[in-house]
Symmetry: C2
Subunit: 281 residues, 2 copies
């Protein structure tokens, strides 16, 4: 019996276009593919002839154990997640299950974690460039994390002017958290702070709403929504959300306000080359 191979694969936002080559290879190389029912549906064209183990939400531990067991039997197994498997995904759970079983990376199942395009980046690409500067990702699901820990993170991220991405903002039963989160963030950030609500990025029912902190709760927010909240420098331009790279455009090293990127707007690349000493080929 061979060693068995266990891939943990992030397949990106859902459309095949944003799958990496390595993620595709990993799925193709596997005899068994394990995933949440919805995810299995998204990669259906790649699954012909394979054993498929699918299960519902909140059955992640069972999926991880099932995958590890089959790999231990010498089979090639892919555990699939949408986005990146390392971000609120299956990678940690698979490693926890392996560790709990005394796995030896040298002699046991061979493990490969294949990174993917995470929801944060997929959503950001659809609304412009909201996360060009320091950012914090916070899940509002208090199923596994005490709400006071989440509140502390919201407060810290808002007070230190991080761009904030809220994962799992609400579900059918869980509606209170996002209201409280927006209230905490509003203590530090202007009501006009640009916000985006992105649902099902790069999937059939994709929806992108650009709004501001004062109006973010006026829109439908569900399990598949990611909320992006700008920092104090974020602005909008004709349907796009833009966070400048630094505070360069507002302050110099001594904190004095100075000219923004607007100063470049009438420059041609040729002039800029002279200014910046750029060499182009």
């Amino acid at each position: 019996m061979g060693r068995g191979k266990l891939y943990v694969v992030g397949f990106g936002p859902g459309a095949e276009a944003h799958l990496t080559r390595r993620a595709r290879e990993a799925i193709e190389d596997s005899e068994v593919v394990v995933g949440y029912t919805t995810y299995i549906g998204l990669v259906r064209p790649l699954l012909e002839g394979k054993e498929v183990i699918r299960s519902g939400m909140q059955e992640e531990i069972a999926r991880a154990v099932a995958a590890v067991e089959r790999a231990e039997q010498g089979r090639r197994v892919a555990v699939i997640s949408s986005g990146d498997a390392g971000v609120y995904g299956m990678a940690g759970l698979v490693l926890e299950v392996l560790a709990g079983r005394g796995w030896d990376p040298e002699t046991g199942v061979e493990l490969e974690i294949v990174p993917g395009v995470t929801a944060l980046n997929a959503c950001a690409a659809l609304v412009g460039a909201p996360i060009m500067h320091d950012f914090a990702a916070i899940s509002l699901s208090d199923l596994l994390t005490p709400w006071d820990v989440i509140l502390r993170r919201l407060d810290a991220a808002a007070s230190a002017d991080f761009v904030i991405a809220l994962y799992n903002p609400a579900s059918g039963r869980r509606q209170r958290q996002v209201v409280e989160a927006v209230e905490v963030i509003g203590r530090y950030r202007s009501p006009t702070t640009p916000c985006a609500l992105v649902k099902s990025a790069y999937r059939e029912r994709q929806s992108v709403v650009l709004t501001d902190l004062a109006h973010v709760l006026d829109h439908e927010i569900g399990m598949l929504t990611t909320i992006l909240i700008g920092n104090s420098n974020t602005y909008t331009y004709k349907g796009y959300m833009i966070t400048p790279r630094g505070y360069h455009n507002k302050y110099d090293a001594a904190g004095r306000r100075r000219e923004g990127i607007g100063q470049w707007e009438s420059l041609t690349a040729e002039k800029l080359e002279r200014v910046l000493g750029s060499r182009q080929e």
Copy 2:
């Protein structure tokens, strides 16, 4: 003259294996490819027959303007970044330049931002599952951001128990910042907190070091290093860094310590199905 098309493309950590299909298509479809010299080298096989505009670091504005100008002339242009173009990348700069020139998304250059696998996810995949829970990304480059803003973010992220990713921790001239950052984080987090230093993920000179907060500064840290710092729950297992999904394994809703995932270790998938009501096909 046609409208011109401007792609802003994140090509992932550098190896072709982690390029998405859409990123490849965007580069292939372009007549002009614009990028930092090192990045151009990484995607060389895709560039045959194309006009290539490359320039050095800190010449990003010139690159953005050059790309926008060519697209305005009706050409198809790809601006390429490693990782994801929206994370400390070129997407924001291109949008700022477009906005500065009064761009109209309806009638002007057609813009498509193509998301990629960002350094954070690529590095995380190589060390296990360090960012399974809420995380904050902070760049230590104070070229465009006042150091006191960065310090405030380090303090906030550390105090609220975020997993922390430090981008741009040091360069040839800039060595002091990472020392101060580790000192700030150490006020809140144990010296045994697992840390990973990942350099050139998925590239030829890839280097992965697993260490802890007390020893993180004993290792070489440069411009291409990303530092991942665990939260209070992160642990290591035989060369892997694992952050559990929640605090479930340590505390119940009332803050009492309870059994961890270890309780599952001897369960088979069959038993788990009974426990969790999982249906598998």
